[in-house]
Symmetry: C2
Subunit: 455 residues, 2 copies
């Protein structure tokens, strides 16, 4: 019987060529100009599913970008795994920071460099190829369903509706997601916690047009100075968020939980070196692992206002804007935080400015059990391929749909990601090591095998 290792060896070049064809479609969900590319990417994945042997695969229109649903049903008595992934990507900007074209993948030093190489085209593709293998070798032990969306990077505004509408079609025993990282190439891990997200945009307006900074400076409110003061006041000297009620729903970790977290292998010097900072900072009283895994945060993602070109333009700007996001921990509710933020931000505006606040994106955090059949199956699969038992970790990132799946479909997810923190997802020079890509394809069929055995 053909093994997965042999199958990868024989089809290696084709796998990469197919993945590269998908990456070449610039499916940036936040940009109106890429609307048509979203359809092209969706059709590409549908065709991949059909070629691999799905009974059916279709592109479903939504109010936003389309969702692909596909399935292979082998028997009513078999357990069902629903694979979730997303074909949309973050914008590639700033383009000048890339060493190669973000939409023309290049392999350098054993890594695929491109926007989406990891997040999530690369990780999603591992599932398509593992499925293809199980079909060719007739080893698929479970029913398999695929739900691949195109709006993850903009907060999945239509996926919850899709799940509600097609709840029966999507019925499953577990949802399998590869959109997270493992600790290191030689330290497998399974993500058992995610943070929620509340992403806001604010605009502060002073005078109704840019003014001459000499003729008006010192006598008229400056919206950039004001916005700076407002942002500065959102966190205190201990790096705690000052929004009233922000921490009300945060569950404080027990000493036991903190001890468990501290066991995760983590080298602070390597961490600092990897991002080239002399010092780490964060909420006083917590470790870096805790700040990311079990504590909420507030970051400005972007700021702009006034003259930003070459040289010295002496204006007092009319407007200043910022994108400000908060990562939330399980039990904090994003809609409540959106509201607290908006009320607080408006309340701290000084006289003489007008303030607008809107929510761009929000979603809930998530925690998964470490004793479920899915977790045990994933753990066993990783142990087989990596030779080590994986470590359960709580990630700082967010996949808001995972909480939605639990709410709407009543099914827990297993977050079996093969990325690395060094993959620079959402950044210039995003990459995905070939090692991880092929290791993922090797591990996934084992998950199906063990999951079928345990159910």
């Amino acid at each position: 019987m053909e093994t997965i290792k042999n199958y990868i060896e024989e089809n290696r070049e084709r796998f990469l060529e197919e993945l590269f064809d998908l990456i070449r479609i610039p499916s940036v969900s936040s940009k109106a100009e890429n609307k048509n590319d979203m359809f092209r990417a969706a059709e590409f994945i549908r065709d991949q599913l059909l070629k691999a042997g799905a009974d059916k695969a279709e592109v479903y229109k939504t109010d936003g970008h389309p969702v692909i649903y596909g399935e292979k049903i082998i028997g009513d008595d078999k357990p069902t795994v629903l694979v979730y992934g997303h074909y949309d990507v973050q914008p590639a900007e700033p383009l000048e920071k890339w060493d190669s074209d973000p939409f023309e993948p290049e392999i350098r030093e054993g890594k695929i460099y491109a926007r989406g190489a990891d997040d999530d085209k690369g990780q999603l593709f591992m599932h398509l190829k593992a499925f293809e293998f199980m079909m060719r070798t007739e080893t698929l032990p479970c029913n398999i369903k695929f739900m691949i969306e195109g709006e993850e990077e903009i907060g999945s505004p239509n996926l919850k509706i899709f799940c509600q509408k097609y709840k029966n079609m999507l019925a499953s025993d577990v949802i399998l997601v590869s959109d997270t990282t493992m600790i290191a190439r030689d330290i497998p891990s399974i993500t058992v916690g995610l943070r929620g997200l509340s992403y806001m945009e604010v605009e502060v307006t002073g005078p109704d047009r840019d003014l001459h900074s000499g003729l008006y400076g010192g006598a008229v409110v400056n919206p950039v100075n004001v916005l700076s003061k407002m942002i500065a006041s959102l966190t205190d000297e201990n790096n705690r968020v000052t929004i009233k009620g922000f921490y009300d729903d945060v569950l404080e970790a027990t000493d036991e939980e903190r001890k468990e977290l501290a066991k995760r292998p983590f080298n602070i010097d390597e961490y600092k070196k990897s991002i080239n900072v002399d010092e780490v900072t964060g909420e006083v009283g917590y470790t870096t692992i805790e700040r990311l895994g079990i504590r909420p945060s507030l970051d400005v993602n972007g700021i702009w206002g006034g003259y930003t070109g070459e040289g010295a333009k002496t204006i007092l700007p009319s407007k200043a804007s910022a994108k400000i996001s908060m990562r939330l921990v399980p039990n904090q509710k994003s809609k409540k935080i959106d509201k607290l933020f908006e009320e607080h931000f408006k309340s701290i505006a000084p006289e003489g400015v007008k303030v607008k606040v809107r929510s761009l994106h929000s979603g809930e955090g998530y925690v998964a059990p470490v004793d479920s059949p899915a977790y045990l199956a994933a753990s066993k699969a990783c142990e087989d391929t990596f030779g080590k038992k994986p470590i359960p970790v709580r990630s700082g990132g967010s996949i808001p749909v995972v909480a939605d799946f639990e709410e709407v479909l009543g099914v827990k997810s297993i977050l079996l990601g093969f990325g690395l923190d060094s993959d620079a997802i959402h950044s210039p020079n995003e990459n995905y090591p070939l090692y991880n890509f092929f290791k993922g394809i090797e591990t996934i069929p084992l998950f199906f095998k063990y999951f079928a055995e345990m159910k």
Copy 2:
């Protein structure tokens, strides 16, 4: 004998067509792409001077953009007036805020709309046409010299050197400058004070690349949050600048001076309405007129960092930057303030970031006497044409070269400007009312007449 009023009437269309041709040359001094346009604008002005009747007029190369020098000498026993102006303009951005092309002048409701319509092409052009009139009618009563530069909007980095080099050629009794405003269409005024300027650019760097705000947020320094806190701390709750030593050289105005300032006609409600703000702000303890005329200020002119496009990109930015300028009052020295700012700004940077500070532009403030022959001549000329004695005012703006002229050439300037605050110089929809343009042409020959009589 032909009067100036008749001459304007007969040549009105030609004057405007010639001015429009100058405005159409996009002579933006801060942009490298407009380097050639600077030469075209300089040659245009040289040709205007020669056609009007100058003995000589030449384009002088400098290390930056060229200077035009021209002269008409009528006799060693006559007083000499040196006219200063600038042919360079501010960038027109943001272009989408203009109602018409900034470099294709349009007349709407009696105003010329274009970049440079007032500052300073329109105001400079009044001198060319007044000179033309005095030559045609053989009424020029003084020697006249022109020095027109192309780097005013970027801080005149080469003009001081030019003045040092050609000190003898530039010898004069007074320097006449039209690059300021009058209080209102029916309230003439003469500027007797200007503020200095210290214009800095700062950059704060955290991690060496943009990071995923979920995977790193809360544990790594965010340069936008940091820059906001640093900017916020530059001014206190009384809107006073917190930089150590900033106010050391500021001369506090006497009660007498403050009483004089309060006499200037000023309607705070109209002022607020004109820029569409509910409230004015500024240094506690001073009026709006005082905040602009005799107090220094600190304004952010522009800020940028992170993702500023459509939608929600979840990054923790690598860098944040701002342009920050301070208006200074006479006796404050800009180079000293540059240094105080740099030291202070670096001293307030928290651990984990790298900070760069550089000066983009600096210059000194200026005060002029109200009893000099030049002031009295300008006052009498305005009284003739506007029917009202002009009011001496201290402007919030800066023309750093005016202090340089006094230092290098040993000559005071008379700031006889005809702009209005509503001309939106440095802003979208810059404009210059035809009334002011023609009133300026009418007033200038009278200045020459009275100045010759008084010397």
